[in-house]
Amino acid sequence: MKIIVGIADMQVADNPGASLITYSLGSCIGITIYDPVAKIAGLLHYMLPDSQIDRQKAQENPSMFADTGIPLLFREAYELGAEKRRMQVKVAGGAQILDESGFFNIGKRNYMALRKIFWANNVLIHAEDVGGNVNRTLSVELPSGKVSVKTSGDGIREL
C-alpha cells in the first residue's frame, strides 16, 4: 500500500506492505526513519527550518518546520513501538537555486537545522542525498526498510 506524504506532512506506518513516499522535495527536506526490529517506518517532509517565525502555524501543522516536525516524527514512531537506539535515519532534499546573494538559501538552512537537532539528540544520519539544485522524490518501504531517492530527470537509486 502506497501512502503519499504531502508537502509539510508526516506519516508513520507499521503494516508490512506499506511504502511511504513524498514527491517534489526542492529546498524542502525529507527524513525517513526505520526500526528494523519493530519494522516501523516514518517519513517527514518539512519546508522550513524554524517554527519561531510563525508559532500559530507550527501548532496547526508541526510538520511544516524542522524543529517541530522532527520530534513529532520520532514520537509517533515510538508510539507504534519503535526504539531510538535502533532507528535508521536517512535524509534527502535541501536543494538550492544558483544563488550568490544568500537571499534564497532555505535549502541550506533547512539542512543545518536538522544537523543541529540531531546533534543535540545524539541521532546519527545513516545516509543522505542533499544539496545541489535538483528536485527529489524520497520513499521508504516496509518491511525491508529500503529507502530510495529519485532525482528528477535522472534515475532511482537506493539510499
Binding site: I7, A8, S24, L25, G26, S27, C28, M47, L48, I53, D54, K57, N61, M64, G93, A95, Q96, I97, L98, D99, E100, S101, G102, F103, F104, N105, I106, G107, G132, N133, V134, N135, S152, G153, D154
Partner: protein, 282 residues
Amino acid sequence: MSLVENILQSVSELPPFPVVIQRALQLIDDPRSSAQDVVDVIQYDQSITLDVLRLCNSAYFGLGRTVDSLREALVMIGFNQLLEIILSRESVKLYGRACKGYDLDEGDLWRHSVACALLSRIIAKRLNRDASPAHFTAALLHDMGKMVLSKFVEDYFEEIRSFTQKGSLSFVEAEREVLGIDHAELGGRITELWRFPCSIVSPVRYHHAPFSTQENQDVVQLIYLCDTVALMTGIGGGADGLSYHAHGEVMKQYNLREKDIERFIILLEDRFQLVDEILNRR
C-alpha cells in the same frame, strides 16, 4: 528546417486558448466592465458555475453560509477572487499534458503555475499593492513555453544537462545554448501570438532574466520572484530543478529579507488547498 524553426512551428500544436479566460481577460482590460459582466460570461457555462459554487462552499473559503448563486458568490468573495478561481480552473486545460522532457507528470506544470499565481497575490499584499488579475495571469502563463519545448528538451536532454552539470549554465541558458531558444523566450512568443498585452508578454519572456528588459520592470520582477519562491518549494518541480540564477537585487529593491521568503512559503502552503479543491472533482 532549422531546429529553432521546427520548435516555433510546433507552437501550433498547443491546445486552443480557453475561450472563457480570453473573455475574462478582456473584461480585466476594460475599465468600463463590472463584476456583473464576469457573471454574464460564465453563467451559461454550467460546469464552471458549479465549480465556483462548490469552491465558495468549501473549507478553503470558510464563509460559514451556503452560497447558491454566482451573484452571491461575487458578493461574498469579490471580483478578483472569482476571476482567479476561473483562471486557475480553466488553465488546467492549457497545462493538462505531461511534459516528459522536464520529467513532469500530468498536472505538475499546472501546480507549479498556480503556486506562482497564488504567490503573486501573497507577495503583492506584503508590498502593500493591490492584487492584480493581470499579474495573476502572467504568473499562471509564465511556463507555457515548456509545454512546447518539452519534446525537444527530451531529445537533447543529455547535452543540456552536460552544460548545467558543469555548473556554469542555468537550465534556461543551457536550453538556449543547445536548442537555440529557451522556454521563457518561447513563452513570450506564444503569449504574443495569443495577442496578450505587453504587461503579460514581458514577464513571461523575462521571468528568468528580470533585468534584461526596461519594459514593465515592476511586473517582470514580481513574477521573477514568484517563480523563484515556487521553484524553491519544489511544487510541480521537474528535471530543470532549481538550476536557475538568483537575482538578489530584486529582494533589495523590494526591501525584502530572507525571512519574508519563509513567510511567503507559509502563506502559500495555506492557499494551496485551493488546488486540491479544484482537483478534487477531476
